[in-house]
Subunit: 456 residues, 2 copies
Amino acid sequence: MENYRIYLTEEEIPTHYYNLRADMKKKPAPLLNPGTMQPMTAEELKGVFCEELVAQELDNDTRYIEIPEEIRDYYRTYRPSPVVRAYNLEKKLGTPAAIYFKFEGNNTSGSHKLNSAAAQAYYAKKQGLKGITTETGAGQWGTAMSMACAHFGLECKVFMVKGSYEQKPFRREVMRTYGADVVASPSDTTQVGRSLLEQFPGTTGSLGCAISEAVEVAVGTEGYRYVLGSVLNQVLLHQSVIGQEAHTALSKIGVKPDIIIGCTGGGSNLGGLIAPFMGEKLRGEKDYRFIAAEPASCPSLTRGKYLYDFCDTGNVCPLAKMYTLGNKFIPSPIHAGGLRFHGMSTIISELYDQGMMEAVAYEQSEVFEAAEIFARAEGILPAPESSHAIKAAIDTALECKESGEAKTILFGLSGTGYFDLAAYQQFNDGTMTDYIPTDEDLAEAIKCVPPQPAEL
Amino acid sequence: MENYRIYLTEEEIPTHYYNLRADMKKKPAPLLNPGTMQPMTAEELKGVFCEELVAQELDNDTRYIEIPEEIRDYYRTYRPSPVVRAYNLEKKLGTPAAIYFKFEGNNTSGSHKLNSAAAQAYYAKKQGLKGITTETGAGQWGTAMSMACAHFGLECKVFMVKGSYEQKPFRREVMRTYGADVVASPSDTTQVGRSLLEQFPGTTGSLGCAISEAVEVAVGTEGYRYVLGSVLNQVLLHQSVIGQEAHTALSKIGVKPDIIIGCTGGGSNLGGLIAPFMGEKLRGEKDYRFIAAEPASCPSLTRGKYLYDFCDTGNVCPLAKMYTLGNKFIPSPIHAGGLRFHGMSTIISELYDQGMMEAVAYEQSEVFEAAEIFARAEGILPAPESSHAIKAAIDTALECKESGEAKTILFGLSGTGYFDLAAYQQFNDGTMTDYIPTDEDLAEAIKCVPPQPAEL
């Protein structure tokens, strides 16, 4: 029998980020300035993001970008992360399929988010900046940034959606323990926040508003920039360490996956996991089946439109061409499983549009059923987000059982569910439901998408 | 530079539990039947514990006890656990000391408890039992047993102290997700519980009462036995996997620790970590300095008496000879950092009495200061319990800085603090205090210790 866990050595942590865009013949569409409808220039982006990250954002050509030693050194405190053979899950399902998962949850941020946080904090520090601002909803990204800033010696100001700030105080306390300044959003510290509080005194906030506040403070504070945890090209670039490690680990034991599965909200976890495999497919070297698993309550890939849209609900960010439900679309508040973004990374969107990958949408009760099966079999309590991938992996393994095919499945277990127990409680109590938008809902929501540009 | 983390292969997971008692010339004192004041016999213990565990409890002579393949197989889902070189902490402290920690928190139970839970569940299943009962306070042990029972196919009934059940619902939900039946204690399902509820209708329960309920149900239910997560010889035996792995890992890189530090409440984590090193010391092969770190609010080693006492507050358990504060001693309710047991494992107690180890007690605010330093340096958010060991390690490293000695320190990081954020919040808010018992408090508390037996 093989080992359960395939560990690489610290020397095998990737030395370069792999830039999937370099292998895409048709590149992902550029970000547009909503004022001019022209591609955002480096100059325009530098007021918001730090310089090195702007360069990475716009670079569609360099295949490998060296990872600075300082970042690799930080990665060594929690990477390489293991690829695990899910023997107990296979046995429970009675499937001939071999199931592997790449586990990114064994760090205090609880997810893969730390991979990009480390890079973003490092480049900000290297540029001589004093601090960064960001927003966080459930808190995974904010936690990751707090940890990375504590390591690299940067100030970290996190605008946390007020509803989460009050109802989920534990994530907030993790961030504070790492020295971050955590502010409930909307706050009276920004113009955007004050104006919103005046209009809606009792509001519990939104991610859109938190983004706007974070950007306002970053742009208006000497030595500060703004950072974002998903969607952007630079973030998918950093997350390529996930896929590269998985590729190396499986190659070591002579295994080639047939099917690669990831959950997707903004696309950073999925984009990172599939990157080197998708590269092989794009270059015609190998073939893989890719499956993106998303929530039925926020089905941007499976039911959205491929259009230019704002990345935020406040319309302060550039336009991105992506599968979107419309920037005013708010997923059902009873949806607990994360992945609540109205759009999708432009890289993932373009690949999906090219037919390079499939997508599937799940309701949250079936996702938590899969989470429970997995937890009992494999020991790890998965994040609700990651459990979308588990559900897809289980379904695929059961199809193999049906057909008798011994396929090899690799899925991304992007995080743990230790801060999502309120949702598990709903599931355990049998009170979990989900609201799936109707066709009418979606037709209405997509109307807020701005006028589309002429072909560039 | 060495690696940050020293991983063993799965083949290097210990094949045997190491029984430290075999190397103790003066053995730990036997458990006594409080009725007869005679050593508990296997026959007497078999009604409460399963047979193999009774044999392990009473075996002072067999040095190595084989770990069944089924348990090793389960260990492979989360072990071997890494030994980590705390480079960033060393740098922050500016110490010439080398600091290593053995990290047991990378599993969903969040601590080392799973090592013994796996063994106890396996032996119960092997005996053909249907289920087990146990109690849990903060919930780490209950979580570990729930996970192990889910794996080995046993029913698991956990009596959770009502105060925790209501105020810390998240641990409860983890247990339920793994299929455990979690009951708030005192409950109306036992005689002990009903009588207590009648006497004190508003009580939020205690660990002592939860133990009594769990034992009552175990003894009164066909095919059930009771399991306990610390203090007992059998538990320290199982936890020897921690020390054995640490010993193997350090030997691999040619490092011999000078100082070995663990936190201690009941003693299972400390006893497991030090086992093979203490064995070498007892056999006169090598010398080490051992430090037990305990809370100043519950200072059994540093301020208790070495006497026979009940292991529980309800006086239903056997008598154990141990450093104790008196079985009615209740640590200050404002103490948040775990390690709240009034006594101490008989093995640890006997070694301490023989002068084989030192002990030190810390107030919780200084413990959380150490936790914050560690978290920011090493990334991992430590459990408050484990942070007692961190505090001792930092103090020792700073002594080395003072003296200029490049000593090697190994400490046990027994768990993570993801479910202890309410305590971190107190610390972050600056509202954390601690109540240290006065000499008068302790003189009063020790009076409840029963009459001592004549020398056996």
